[in-house]
């Protein structure tokens, strides 16, 4: 009994001493462990941030389209980028800050309109700063003399193409209308488009004739309650073939729009409103009115040997090919007046057409809106004259260059 009592007391004493010791140790080490945990957590977050930062790489380009400045940014790195601000320092050393707030995944590209960059030469420094603290130069005269190692350079250029951009005003772009005539009456010829509102008349000795008039903006008098804005054009053509005459007429009218900064563009999306009016009196004949959209290069444009000589005498300029050489063409509209009928067909339609520039070329591209009027005539009727009127008005709502 005595022994048990002694053991019990000694256990009690050692337990109390152990508890006292444990509490003392905990009181000492718990705050340290907690602080150490916070430090390790901060270290982990900093390492993660610096890792993402080291994987970030942006390339930026400035483009000027229709007198508007755009900044295209491509994420070439392996991490998602958060572009925070655009920093601009003028030649007078005044600073301008623009909040961008753009998020870009790897390989993603985005374009923003930056009016401040319209006069890029006014700035000595233009930088993009990301939320990871990386600084990417668009312009930097000091890049060979960097001020701090934490600032590193990218391969940006201020003049490289290409932004995805929209054109909503073709009247500010370079445009060109071309008449391409092929047929028995006028052989194969090519002309600059006749002046706005000027009607070119061809009449031959045997009373075959045709009249062509271009309007820019479009003349919409053939359609009731239709108005078109300044980004439009129209072509009117009237063909007349006297009784007993035959011969096919193929007439192209190409309206060519230069697409600025379209080097390496892979896709052009065209949004147009088309109003067509076809009226014909046929015997054993067919009148056909078609619309094509095409993409051509400058070389192809020059190869069609354009002249601005007046068509009165020297109009018979031979062409090697009856067609424009084109990169891509898509038929958009066909209106047909069959034989032995007197019919009128008209409508107003909207089209959104994707044109793929394949293969991609590093040359400026031109959008060609081609109107193709065909009048296939036969001399089967010796007493009946035939005629066809083709009128088309086209408004370009938007062109997207990607």
């Amino acid at each position: 009994m005595k022994l048990r009592l002694r053991i019990g007391i000694s256990n009690l004493v050692s337990s109390i001493l152990f508890l006292v010791l444990l509490l003392s140790i905990l009181a000492f080490f718990v705050p340290i462990a907690s602080a150490q945990g916070k430090l390790l957590d901060m270290g982990k977050r900093v390492v993660e941030l610096e890792t993402l930062r080291s994987h970030e790489r942006l390339e930026a380009m400035v483009h000027h389209v229709n007198d508007t400045a755009y900044l295209s940014i491509i994420n070439m790195g392996g991490a998602k980028s958060f572009i925070d601000v655009l920093y601009l320092r003028s030649k007078e050393n005044t600073v301008s800050i623009k909040k961008v707030n753009m998020e870009l995944s790897p390989r993603e590209e985005a374009t923003v309109e930056i009016p401040e960059l319209k006069h890029l030469n006014n700035y000595t420094k233009a930088l993009i700063i990301t939320s990871y603290g990386n600084v990417f130069y668009i312009i930097d005269p000091e890049n060979s003399n960097s001020l701090n190692n934490s600032v590193y350079l990218n391969n940006s250029s201020s003049e490289q193409p290409l932004p995805p951009y929209n054109i909503s005003a073709i009247n500010t772009l370079q445009t060109l209308g071309v008449n391409l005539w092929s047929g028995k009456m006028a052989s194969t010829k090519i002309w600059y488009r006749n002046n706005d509102g000027e009607t070119v008349v061809f009449v031959n000795e045997t009373n075959s004739k045709y009249y062509v008039t271009w309007h820019e903006p479009a003349d919409t008098s053939y359609w009731e309650n239709l108005t078109m804005n300044s980004n439009s054009f129209s072509v009117y053509e009237h063909l007349y073939v006297n009784a007993g005459l035959d011969g096919n007429q193929d007439h192209w009218y190409a309206y060519i729009i230069e697409l600025p900064n379209s080097e390496n563009a892979g896709e052009i999306i065209v949004n147009i409103t088309v109003a067509y009016y076809v009226k014909a009196k046929t015997a054993s004949d067919i009148a056909k009115h078609e619309l094509y959209l095409a993409l051509i290069t400058k070389d192809q444009l020059q190869s069609i040997a354009i002249t601005d000589d007046p068509p009165t005498y020297e109009y018979n300029i031979p062409m090697e090919s009856n067609n424009l050489e084109i990169m891509y063409v898509t038929k958009t509209l066909t209106v047909r007046i069959p034989s032995w009928s007197t019919l009128t067909k008209y409508n107003v339609e909207n089209y959104v057409i994707n044109i793929e520039a394949s293969p991609k070329t590093a040359t400026t591209k031109y959008l060609a809106i081609i109107i193709y009027n065909t009048f296939i005539t036969n001399a089967i009727s010796s007493s009946k004259s035939r005629w066809a009127t083709f009128s088309i008005a086209i408004q370009v709502n938007q062109i997207t260059v990607r």
Partner: protein, 153 residues
């Protein structure tokens, strides 16, 4: 019989004395602990808090991150643009221009307000003179950053 009584008495007396001794020992231990605990806790706390403080300072230091964006001069001032991207707020305590301290203000470039505390974002430090060789920024965390000047653009 008498021997038996004496033996019993001897054992009871010894057991009671052991209990008393144990109680006295516990009392001494507890009393010593109570007397010393204040001092022990004070010293342990001091030691512990100094280690905790050291960890906290280190954590705040490594969480303070910024990039130098631009440095230029305008009339008689030097402008330093810094972008803070870390996890901790900080302050610029001192700017040394060449070898002497300089007056300066810190401006938030978005709000255009003069501020002391630098959070995430782009800030402009306007120093009231133009150094010829170097600028040193010293933060309230005790870090310093040196910017060597070669040419002014």
């Amino acid at each position: 019989m008498n021997l038996k009584n004496n033996f019993k008495h001897y054992f009871f007396t010894k057991a009671i004395s052991n209990i008393v001794a144990a109680l006295i020992l516990i009392s001494i231990v507890l009393a010593s602990y109570i007397i010393a605990s204040h001092r022990i806790h004070y010293l342990a706390g001091l030691r512990s808090s100094s280690i905790v403080e050291a960890y906290d300072i280190r954590a705040r230091k490594i969480g303070t991150l910024f990039s130098i964006v631009d440095v230029f001069v305008n009339e008689s001032e030097t402008h330093i643009l810094i972008y803070s991207y870390g996890f901790e707020k900080f302050k610029i305590k001192t700017v040394i221009s060449d070898n002497s301290t300089s007056d300066f203000i810190v401006r938030n470039t978005l709000t255009e307000q003069i501020t002391e505390s630098i959070e995430k974002g782009l800030y402009e430090i306007i120093v009231s003179n133009i150094p010829s060789s170097r600028l040193i920024l010293i933060t309230d965390k005790g870090d310093f950053y040196e910017i060597k000047i070669k040419n002014w653009y």
